[in-house]
């Protein structure tokens, strides 16, 4: 497989709703591995972009290709900002997303829960977990489906710091090497900690795309400079 095949190509992608353009014609070529962070102020269009990548939204125009073919939901797992927890035990939440439950998958589910610090709570009703624990469960549930691409929409926005640390550590140490991660955040420090490459979105337009190092050391646009310096939130 050539390096071009492992890239994610976005061609003329746009998304309108009720006559308002939320994502303007976007052309990008993203790395097929590592962590790509979508950075931008609230309402910039980061989540829209992520949902277009997931296939949860259909673009008004353009296409997304991955490994030479179209990017399909079969290759993706999506974790939203608000954890979606089913009213059943933690372990049953994990197993729900599987088409077929095998003993290997059950063991894997327990291992993933253990990595997420939830091994002692696997038989607990998942609704009673804390916000951070719920989000950790959502992440573990996404991993068990073995996706090629993991899409995370501000997964640490409303959770306690120890859960944020655990999730970041897990993503960097265990997930980054084996699958592509798209991570939406408006936390610059988190972007610095996680990102291999940055896509900076401002009012529905991708105005900067570069390696994380380049972006933070030498932002090319005024908007990016303002955002990094905290003038835009």
């Amino acid at each position: 497989m050539t390096s071009e095949d492992t890239q994610i190509s976005i061609n003329d992608l746009s998304f309108d709703i009720e006559g308002k353009t939320l994502l303007h014609n976007t052309n990008l070529s993203l790395n097929g591995d590592g962590i790509t962070v979508f950075l931008g102020a609230n309402g910039a269009g980061k989540t829209i972009f992520l949902k277009l990548l997931t296939g949860l939204l259909t673009p008004c125009s353009g296409s997304i290709t991955f490994q030479g073919g179209s990017l399909s939901v079969k290759t993706c797992a999506f974790v939203s900002q608000e954890p979606v927890i089913l009213r059943r035990t933690v372990l049953k939440n994990m197993l729900f997303v599987l088409e077929k439950i095998t003993s290997e998958k059950s063991t894997l589910a327990k291992e993933l829960l253990s990595l997420m610090g939830l091994d002692k709570k696997e038989h607990q009703n998942a609704i009673t977990l804390s916000a951070g624990e719920k989000q950790r469960l959502c992440l573990a549930r996404a991993i068990i489906t073995n996706p090629e691409i993991l899409l995370l929409d501000e997964p640490t926005a409303n959770i306690e710091p120890n859960s944020t640390t655990l999730i970041e550590k897990y993503l960097i140490q265990k997930v980054r090497s084996s699958r592509k991660i798209f991570f939406v955040t408006h936390d610059i420090n988190q972007a610095r900690r996680l990102a291999d490459e940055i896509v900076f979105i401002h009012t529905g337009r991708v105005i900067e795309h570069s390696s994380a190092e380049n972006f933070f050391e030498n932002p090319k646009t005024r908007e990016a400079r303002n955002y990094i310096s905290g003038k835009i939130n």
Binding site: L56, F78, L86, F96
Partner: protein, 237 residues
């Protein structure tokens, strides 16, 4: 006033000494209610869940019709079922008129829209939270409908309770299709209507007390179950 207090005391006697006639009427009422609610729940809950979680061309029309049917006048339903099952009706050959079976059918027609629409309302709000998750994990339609039902099981107990309430207190339809035949199709509500018109207030009051007690006990039981669930799950439903 004396008549009422005498009738009240007399009715308590009938209940305490388990009057055979009274017992027969009560058991038939419970049997008809049980089957009517069971059938309505088996059909109405999955249908309501399906409608709440699926978008198709005439969905809004179907939902509007079902909501309209929640207020079906029982006597009209009774008349419709009567015509259907009378000897000259299209289902007359089944010979079900004036039987408990046809009373159950009439009640299912009345209760099914209630169960379906209340389920629809409960699951529609759950669908708002779950549908993106289900789509992103490519959860099959049947599996998602089952998940909606399982996850709203405690709210759905209220739906079943509403069905029981409607069924056990219904009189208009079942008196037409059942005929209020002694030892065959006489249930609590039809018996109360008959005994009151005959001036036999003790039996009518006895049945009324049991009807009220049943409703209170059932409501209390469901509230107890919900409370227990809220305590153990920490849910805010």
């Amino acid at each position: 006033m004396n008549d009422i207090s005498e009738a009240f005391v007399s009715s308590l006697g009938l209940i305490l000494f388990l009057d055979a006639e009274l017992l027969e009427i009560i058991l038939l009422s419970f049997r008809i209610t049980f089957y009517a609610v069971l059938i309505s729940s088996i059909l109405g809950i999955p249908l309501g869940a399906f409608l709440a979680s699926t978008h198709f061309k005439f969905r809004n029309t179907v939902v509007s019709i079902l909501f309209g049917m929640m207020g079906l006048p029982p006597v009209v339903v009774g008349l419709f079922v009567y015509l259907l099952f009378s000897r000259s009706g299209s289902l007359g050959w089944m010979g079900l008129l004036y039987s408990p079976t046809v009373m159950i059918i009439a009640q299912v027609i009345l209760i099914l829209p209630i169960v379906c629409c209340l389920t629809f309302q409960i699951i529609e709000s759950l669908h708002t939270r779950y549908h993106e998750f289900f789509r992103s994990y490519r959860i099959a339609k049947l599996k998602s409908v089952i998940a909606y039902i399982v996850d709203s099981r405690f709210e759905l107990t209220t739906v079943v309770l509403a069905g029981i309430g409607r069924s056990i207190s219904e009189v208009g339809a079942i008196i037409i299709v059942g005929g209020n035949i002694d030892h065959v199709t006489r249930v609590m509500t039809t018996a109360i209507a008959l005994e009151t018109s005959k001036g036999n207030l003790d039996l009518a009051l006895g049945l009324g007390i049991i009807l009220l007690t049943t409703a209170i006990v059932l409501n209390g039981f469901i509230l107890f179950l919900r409370g227990k669930y809220l305590k153990t799950s920490g849910s805010t439903i």
